[in-house]
């Protein structure tokens, strides 16, 4: 199991499109993905669960990955958030 902490830096936060990108990326891995923030935990492969967390810019989140490809999965998701989901 790998646990990383990332701060959401893109302006709009994890709203519709970024959330969809995140979930799609997570779903390409076999590992279980969980996001924790503001005392809530959501399944990182479920678009509605991720969106219901209402994650804004500058929120620090904890991503937990568990499974055979946890390392790659964790890295890919971290990179995606750090790249601001391709937003300006």
């Amino acid at each position: 199991m790998i646990e990383i902490q990332v701060t959401i830096t893109n302006t709009s936060g994890l709203h519709a499109r970024p959330a969809a990108q995140f979930v799609q990326k997570a779903a390409t891995f076999k590992s279980k993905v969980k996001i924790a923030a503001n005392n809530k935990v959501a399944d990182g492969k479920s678009i509605l669960a991720v969106m219901s967390m209402g994650l804004k810019q500058n929120t620090q989140i904890t991503i937990t990955t568990e499974g055979e490809d946890e390392k790659e999965c964790s890295k890919a998701l971290e990179d995606m958030i750090k790249s601001n989901f391709g937003e300006e």
Binding site: A27, S46, I47, L48, A49, S52
Partner: protein, 309 residues
């Protein structure tokens, strides 16, 4: 442990804040409420400092029977105890200097026009609900023939698709993808959807659907008691699935064990049909008829009948 701020209680009950400068960000952590009759009578032991204190007609009338000095002395020793706030019911007017003493030690004092017992009943209900342990699960909750059925399983196994099929058959969606579960009473779990996700579901390939708009108000319900857990999992050749239904599996949520059925998923198995039957069977069992026991008893007699003389 969940905590609630005084501000939320004040807003929910439209309480009048006596001293506008008091701190409303004080947390309340217990749902018990106390009428401080004994404390005002001078008995200060066994005083639970976490409880909200409520003063009504009896307490204020009692204080009036005391001499002024004694009453003020009792009042002082009462407000010097630590508790989250004091609520005065029936809009009773207490002497201004007493309220000033409370304000001096920054004790929040509120007023309501409600009668004491009624207010306590409403507040207890409210606090029990707000302070109940809760968690958010990745699952789908559907009301199937009145049985709150929680469908769990790995992402992509087909929970939402199964729920959609159940809705088409006339059952009701409570929450898709994220279910907020609260343990409101001993051993009772209630599920609801987070506000933003109410009536909404996601189906791969279609995206986000609004079930209420598509199927009407009859296809949704805001909350539901959870009775049964259905665990969907990929069919594993090596695993032995329940053939008789004798073994009662349990799934634990917030310390409450719920009956659980593990249903293997394989092409050609109509999951919504199976879940519908599981819910009906649950009701049948609850009504006192257990098909398995009945069948096994019959079969046992049958074996005995065939025994060689």
């Amino acid at each position: 442990m969940a905590a609630l701020l005084l501000r939320e209680i004040v807003d929910s009950f439209c309480l009048t804040v006596v001293d506008k400068n008091c701190n409303l960000n004080v947390p309340v952590e217990v749902s018990d409420i106390n009428r401080p009759g004994l404390a005002l009578a001078g008995y200060l032991q066994h005083f639970d400092e976490q409880r909200i204190q409520v003063i009504g007609t009896a307490e204020s009338a009692f204080l009036e029977t005391l001499s002024e000095n004694l009453a003020t002395e009792r009042w002082l020793s009462f407000i010097n105890l630590h508790f989250p706030c004091l609520v005065i019911t029936r809009n009773i007017i207490l002497p201004e200097r007493w309220l000033q003493l409370a304000a001096n030690r920054q004790l929040p004092v509120f007023r309501t026009r409600l009668a004491t017992t009624r207010f306590i009943a409403q507040l207890t209900n409210y606090l029990e609900h707000k302070l109940a342990p809760s968690t958010t699960l990745h699952a789908v909750l559907v009301d199937v023939h009145g049985v709150g059925t929680l469908i769990i399983g790995e992402s992509g196994i087909g929970k939402s698709e199964t729920a959609l099929d159940l809705i088409k058959r006339g059952h009701r969606l409570v929450a898709d993808d994220a279910v907020e579960v609260t343990c409101t009473e001993e051993n009772v779990l209630t599920g609801t959807a987070p506000e933003v996700l109410r009536h909404v579901m996601e189906v791969r390939g279609l995206g986000i659907l609004n079930v209420k708009a598509l199927f009407g108000i009859g296809a949704v319900r805001p909350n539901q008691k959870i009775h049964l857990v259905i665990q969907l999992e990929e069919w594993d050749q090596a695993k032995a699935y329940d053939r008789l239904g004798l073994d009662e599996e349990h799934h634990e949520i917030l310390g409450v064990g719920l009956p659980c059925k593990t249903i293997p998923v394989r092409p050609g198995r109509n999951l919504s049909n199976i879940i519908e039957v599981a819910a009906m069977n649950y009701r049948l069992n609850k009504s006192g008829y257990n098909a398995v026991e009945d069948f096994i008893e019959k079969q046992r007699k049958f074996c005995l009948g065939n025994a060689p003389e």
